[in-house]
């Protein structure tokens, strides 16, 4: 297999070189302004969080402010059993709004249906698009942020990136960076929008103010 593969490699490279050799000149890499892909067509907001909330709501995301609000939201929706990042669990359990809510700190894939929600730590959010950023480094369990119907990502106010360009400049060295923009969705059946296909049907971003 090894030799056959390196043959394929050699062949592909030589075929590319042969294909390109007759070109009298090669197209240059264009210079373009850093700001070119940034969308500015939105109302003015004084705070980036406000812009984020505006954009997140456009894609049916659920922005919340304060962990207490999250506790009340879960009670209101009768979602009282879920997964929670170990780093947050103690703090939440001590809050009156989380009384009566069971937080498990291991996501057991054998019981994936038992978790109504998953609470994880976001690596940041992107205001321009209403996206939340998840990285392996900050997300305690990929499945905890994906399998339950409700995903709540807790975001530190210091990690609100203004736009996709800045977020790209801050990908860092993490092997898995995810931008999630609203709940999982499909329009495969007659173009009708349905949320919660494989991933969360509710995507909460909760500002830890």
């Amino acid at each position: 297999m090894q030799t056959a593969m390196s043959d394929d490699r050699t062949q592909i490279f030589s075929r590319i070189k042969t294909a390109l050799a007759p070109l009298p000149q090669r197209a240059a890499l264009p210079n373009y302004a850093r700001e070119l892909p940034i969308c500015r067509a939105h109302p003015e907001f004084s705070e980036l969080w406000e812009l984020f909330s505006h954009k997140a709501k456009q894609v049916n995301g659920t922005p919340l402010v304060g962990l207490a609000t999250l506790g009340s939201w879960l009670h209101e929706k009768k979602q009282t059993h879920g997964y929670c990042d170990r780093a947050l669990a103690e703090r939440l359990r001590a809050m009156p709004e989380f009384e009566g809510i069971t937080l498990e700190t291991e996501f057991d894939r054998g019981r994936f249906d038992d978790f109504a929600f998953g609470i994880t730590l976001a690596a940041g959010v992107i205001a321009e698009t209403g996206s939340l950023i998840l990285k392996d480094e900050s997300t305690s369990a990929r499945l905890g942020a994906l399998a339950p119907w409700t995903h709540a990502a807790i975001v530190d106010p210091a990690t609100i990136y203004p736009d996709t360009v800045t977020a790209l400049e801050n990908l860092g060295s993490d092997p898995s960076v995810i931008w999630a923009t609203g709940p999982s969705k499909t329009a495969d059946v007659e173009g009708i929008l349905i949320e919660g296909v494989h991933g969360p049907g509710v995507q909460i971003v909760c500002l830890d103010a």
Partner: protein
């Protein structure tokens, strides 16, 4: 009576059930309108600058592909991924199978990837005892129906909810129910089990950054993310043209692909994958492999249609195309339908080019595909180049439906013959249409068109009078 010289695609359009035609027409039209509204709302002055710049970046990458491919290989390896090269589809399938066998993998979950449609990966693996499950809802439905995708972004654009409900019932996924929400929930429950049982995830890649070796995957359903959370082995099968030079360039492409494909500012899940999971992370692949596939792409690169390799598979040219809207995707008889397919499919077919040589003619050259393309591919120009290639190579399909021009060429080059013909032309005015239909070559035109009244030859008279004045 149907004219014998109908093109193949005309026959598909004619025979398309009215129900399917309506579904495809409405689906493509509404997506196209949404694309226009969102792109120009968000970039009222620069939408075209974005498209042109993205096109230049891709063209530059293609014209330095050896350089960027080598750089990508280095970056991927540095990220801890293992890189493989496959000259053709069979090699790619073989490499994937060997990797799975080495890991004792029996079950795979797969997210949407057009290149694996080209290589027929799933039937190959199934023959070799691997259970394969497509996880994109549309692809899943295509799979249980033993069908083919009819669109590169919306694979089941040709199916309505009643057909889908019947398929679900047949597959034992619940009693007949054609409510789209119920259909989606049933798929969620069914596929969830499949993710957790699977040993391996197969994905494509929308982009690969040569600079960082990051593989970028975009989905709306989150299925690729689920594949990458539940399994331990990740194999990405990637066409060699998917490269972009730098992470910075992804800003342009990501902002264009969602808006162009589905009228979204960003797709819901955008994943940047740089190697296997971190050690502390409990979920996700411990090993990552990338198989770069040529499968005739270097032939396309050598051709005068290399611009088509810029394509980022957004589907915008399909949605806007008047021919696609009438004929639907299966009419293109290949993996890639629509305007992009009319260029790419005959080229990728290589020796079988003559069989698909009619596709470049399935266009009115209206130019809409070029206008919407996020990488500004001059599709109409490429179609003309391929028509020329078809004619030069004497491909029979390239001539179907075109009246022979030999007689016209003779007359147009001999003034006396031309003058005589102008006189005879008046005979057409008194010839019944039915009589003209006897000439097969004329049939293709006259059976669906009314000839205007013949008024030829007047220009010369007018010119003579002008000169003598």
């Amino acid at each position: 009576m149907q004219p014998k010289t109908f093109q193949k695609i005309d026959r598909f359009a004619r025979d398309l059930p009215a129900e399917v035609h309506a579904t495809v027409y409405d689906g493509s039209k509404s997506t196209s309108e949404k694309r226009y509204d969102v792109l120009w709302r968000d970039f009222p002055e620069t939408a075209d600058v974005l498209r042109e710049t993205a096109g230049q970046i891709k063209q530059h990458t293609l014209e330095h592909l050896d350089q960027y491919l080598e750089q990508a290989e280095k970056s991927l390896t540095a990220n801890g991924a293992q890189v493989h090269f496959a000259g053709d589809g069979d090699r790619a399938n073989q490499i994937a199978l060997e990797l799975m066998q080495k890991h004792g993998a029996k079950k795979l979950v797969k997210s949407k990837s057009m290149v694996t449609e080209e290589t027929h990966l799933v039937p190959f693996l199934e023959k070799n005892g691997i259970e394969c499950v497509e996880t994109d809802l549309g692809e899943f439905i295509v799979q249980i129906d033993n069908d083919h995708p009819s669109h590169i972004v919306k694979p089941i654009m040709h199916k309505n909810r009643r057909q889908i409900a019947r398929s679900f019932e047949r597959e034992g996924l619940g009693a007949y129910n054609d409510d789209p929400e119920t259909i989606t929930r049933r798929a969620r429950v069914h596929l969830r089990k499949k993710y957790f049982e699977a040993d391996v995830a197969v994905t494509g890649a929308n982009f690969v950054s040569a600079e960082s070796g990051r593989i970028v995957l975009v989905t709306n359903e989150g299925n690729a993310r689920f594949c990458m959370a539940a399994t331990k082995l990740h194999i990405a099968i990637v066409g060699i043209e998917k490269l972009v030079p730098r992470d910075k360039d992804l800003g342009l492409f990501l902002n264009l692909i969602g808006r162009s494909g589905t009228g979204q500012q960003l797709t819901v899940y955008t994943q940047f994958i740089a190697g296997p999971k971190r050690a502390e992370q409990p979920d996700g692949p411990e090993e990552m492999h990338v198989i770069f596939v040529d499968n005739k792409r270097t032939d396309v690169l050598a051709s005068e249609c290399r611009e088509i390799l810029r394509c980022i598979r957004c589907g915008a040219c399909l949605n806007v195309c008047p021919v696609y809207r009438q004929a639907s995707g299966h009419a293109y008889r290949s993996v890639y339908p629509g305007p992009v397919g009319a260029v790419l499919s005959p080229l990728l077919a290589a020796d079988k080019f003559p069989e698909l040589a009619d596709l470049p003619k399935a266009s009115s050259l209206c130019g809409a595909c070029n206008e919407v393309c996020p990488v500004n591919i001059p599709i109409p120009d490429l179609l003309l180049r391929l028509r020329d290639k078809g004619k030069r190579e004497g491909a029979k399909n390239a001539a179907a439906g075109t009246p022979p021009m030999g007689m016209y060429a003779m007359m147009a080059s001999q003034p006396s013959a031309w003058k005589a013909a102008m006189k005879i032309g008046y005979a057409v005015n008194v010839t019944p249409q039915a009589m003209m239909n006897v000439v097969p070559a004329a049939q293709a035109w006259t059976s669906v068109r009314q000839l205007p009244k013949w008024r030829g030859g007047k220009f010369r008279d007018w010119m003579k009078k002008k000169e003598s004045e």
